[in-house]
Amino acid sequence: MIEILTGSSLNTIQDFGRPHAMAMGVAQGGAMDRLALSHGNLLLDNPVDAAGIEIVFFPFRVRFHAETSFAVTGAACPATLDDLKLPRDWAITAKPGQTLTLRAPEQGARAYLTLRGGLDVPPVLGARSTDLKGGFGGLEGRALQKGDRLSCLAASTLRMPATGYGLARPCPVPPADGTRIRVLPAAEHDVFTPESLKTFHAAAWTLTPSANRMGYRLEGQDALKLSRPLSLFSHGILPGTVQVPPAGQPIIQMMDANTCGGYPKIATVIAPDLRLLSQTVVGAPVHFETITRDDAVQIIRQEAADLKRLAAAIATLRTQLVF
């Protein structure tokens, strides 16, 4: 049992979301930085998609009421268990009464707290993710508040050294001087003027404060223009879609995006880079780079293989740890 000591309207329970409910109009949802949540779960020998807490509002404090193994992954934020400083992407076992504190990130934007067994909230439409817009999933369909108590699903005790263990190479977060996002051309790419396509790739776009789990609005000096007016029927859109509304400033659809839309689409962010965008801080520059579909497939397959290798390596190392 853990108790949340700090409230916010933004910290939510997330797993891998509801990709199979999109046909009902339900947002895909799930962790914005899926790799960070995966790393946390792998460190705890959980299923890779077990539900954890996505933290975007700091400081975040939680008290452990029972002995609990947990991991903190994602953004580089100073983390302390009582007075013990924890390295990045670290797992450790808390004793009853201990408090974990996460302070504002030095790099990145969201941290993940995963717990041995995964959080025990009722699955809704196949997932434990909080859908704030729909008001379901997670804990009562809402963000976590001060005083909330959460339990974990039953799991055997995880043996680990008293000081814990972690990843030698934490999952990367974008450097402060800019996030490089790789994209594939989307349906209306070729309808944008040649100058606009040049601007799209050459400009340093700035992430505006209008950035949440539904979408990230970017701002640039020159608006993107179509070479002819378009009137599109409503169509399905996926997280990562870069829409360009009439004002000409792009909006990137994120995990809680609407499942259908009608604005022209210039590009789609490849899945492995969408997590980098989710770790980008407001005001930071964002650069787009168009790649080929073959390259994108290779990058996605590489990431999947890396995750598999990491899971195997952690499983092997855990058996070799000296207690």
């Binding site: 990709p19 046909a23 009902m24 947002a27 996926l238």
Partner: protein, 213 residues
């Protein structure tokens, strides 16, 4: 001419729109969606208005193979009739619940009463489901009421709002921003995540609007 666009590495958007909305094309979209849903490589299909989004796992499945499958299934799909139920939606029109009724009436060059009658006169068809959970895009709107969406969306439109926009009719399943125009309000619950069948309406269902008694 049907076009297939990339929607990232693991998505394809088949766009079959050719001028105005086509009911025949929409039936082929649904048939394609049903057929693809039986294929193990397909994660999901999301029918839009005369278009279809297909998703798959690019780690396992080669995108060019999926593109080929999509084109084949689309080419072979026929515009079958789908089982249709009729759902009646009771509406309180105008006043505080329908703040855009006067604006829409002016646009259509009709009285408010004629506008309401035009909205109630047609039988609508659920062409697509999406945007938000349980939102349906209804085709069949009287052409005189095809008012474009608002230039800037309202930040808050209440659950149950009976709306029109961009040539379609709809009902708000939850309180959310929307650029559609509000004609009235219904008490009908369109989506409940905890019901065995969360969405009230299915693709192909017929919808009629009547005045709430």
């Amino acid at each position: 001419m049907t076009r297939i666009h990339m929607a990232g590495a693991g998505g394809l958007l088949l766009d079959a729109a050719d001028g105005p909305f086509s009911d025949t094309t929409q039936r082929r979209i649904w048939a394609t969606s049903r057929e693809l849903n039986t294929r193990p490589d397909v994660l999901q299909t999301i029918p839009g208005v005369n278009n279809l989004l297909v998703t798959f796992d690019a780690v396992q499945t080669d995108p060019s193979a999926m593109e080929k499958l999509l084109r084949t299934v689309w080419t072979q799909a026929s515009a079958d009739e789908v089982p249709s139920r009729e759902i009646v939606v009771p509406v309180v029109y105008g006043g505080e619940f329908g703040e855009d009724l006067a604006l829409v009436a002016r646009f259509a060059n009709l009285t408010e009463e004629e506008t309401i009658n035009a909205h109630m006169a047609t039988r609508y068809s659920v062409a697509a489901i999406g945007a938000m959970a349980g939102f349906v895009y209804l085709t069949g709107l009287d052409a005189r009421l095809a008012i474009p969406r608002r230039d800037s969306p309202r930040l808050r439109v209440e659950e149950g709002a009976v709306v029109i926009g961009g040539g379609h009719a709809g009902v708000m399943p939850c309180t959310s921003p929307s650029g559609w125009h509000i004609l009235g309000r219904t008490d009908l619950c369109l989506f409940d995540a905890f019901r065995p069948d969360p969405g009230l309406l299915r693709l192909g269902d017929t919808v009629r609007f009547v005045r709430a008694s």
